[in-house]
Symmetry: C2
Subunit: 207 residues, 2 copies
């Protein structure tokens, strides 16, 4: 069954899932009430109830609250996070190599499949939990291993060309760490993670 | 004059400012129409017009569109981005040292004032555009230089303690790169930048 969920609802469900995970990780067992969620998120109880009932009204909640153990898998499934996806890191400078070696427990949904860099020395010298390749093999490796996601960590001036190569090879989602706006076909999902924008967003909330 | 703007409007204005900057950077001169903004953002023209008129109905727009050169400073001022703020990087591993050396042109609003690490060798060896200090000097340096923002790049298990020390020394905004939820007084602004969450948000938009 495919459920159609609005973008806003998806964002809220994703955030709720994270709260439920943290609740469980913090050693709490038992249900989370919609009042608690309201307190933590600022969303109204009605909104929360509506979001959750859009998935599955019965399985995960009742008057006592939502059981994280039941609700998390329901949300994961609805959001398409219930299967493991392969990702690669393109550009292995400081930032790229940091993400190469960044495997916290909740990245279990994601499998680092490859890293790429134009500098062959760097490819040979870096320690990595996944195989590294010179940049010219990017297209071949992405399609051979059916890698779906690329973290783009190259300099701004190289980002557009690299992104186009990734997309041509089958990449469907890009986390763009390069400070450059990418122009790509609309079916490719792009998220920009850019420290200047993050700093600005932070400032806007600081005053 | 202080203008009270809703959080959602602030987010939209921030994004609009970025679009206008990119428009200008891409070598375009002349106005941007609300139809173009609608196309790029998906927000309705009415929303865009309302957001902008909440700032300053006259100065920046007319029927021909919005002039980036006029509108950008108006938005910056309204969002409190019109003065330079000092930030520091706490934790100088791969990620932290990447941000230490990350000074794109549009970070002009932000001044890297210091870096900190518990490892004294690292503090002495790393090349940096700003002075680096051992971790025990964190409180003293933050208050002496009136640093307002901290990028926290320490391991997850150290993040809460480091954040508390930053806040005690006067930090008002934190970009948290550690995969740990921080528990801080409500007057401190926190943004979590966490690759697992970014990957999930990306996936949700990929299907």
């Amino acid at each position: 069954m495919t459920i159609s969920i609005s973008e806003r609802t998806k964002e809220r469900l994703l955030y709720l899932m994270r709260l439920l995970e943290n609740h469980a990780l913090a050693g709490n067992s038992g249900p989370v009430t919609s009042a608690q969620v309201e307190h933590l998120t600022g969303w109204s109880r009605d909104t929360i109830r509506k979001d959750i009932s859009s998935l599955n009204g019965d399985a995960a909640g009742n008057n006592a609250g939502y059981d994280p153990q039941l609700l998390i898998p329901v949300i994961k499934k609805a959001l398409g996070l219930d299967r493991r996806r392969k990702f690669c890191v393109v550009g292995l400078g400081r930032l790229g190599s940091a993400y190469l070696n960044f495997t916290p427990p909740d990245l279990a949904e994601f499998e680092l499949a490859a890293g790429f860099d134009a500098n062959v020395n760097r490819v040979e010298m870096l320690r990595s939990p996944a195989p590294l390749y010179p940049a010219y093999k990017l297209g071949e490796v992405i399609s051979r291993f059916a890698i779906e996601i690329a973290l783009i960590c190259v300099p701004a001036e190289a980002a557009q060309a690299v992104a186009e190569k990734c997309v041509a090879a089958g990449i469907q989602g890009i986390l763009n760490f390069a400070p450059a706006a990418l122009s790509l076909p609309p079916e490719v999902a792009v998220r920009n993670v850019y420290v200047a924008d993050e700093l600005r967003s932070l400032c806007v909330r600081m005053r």
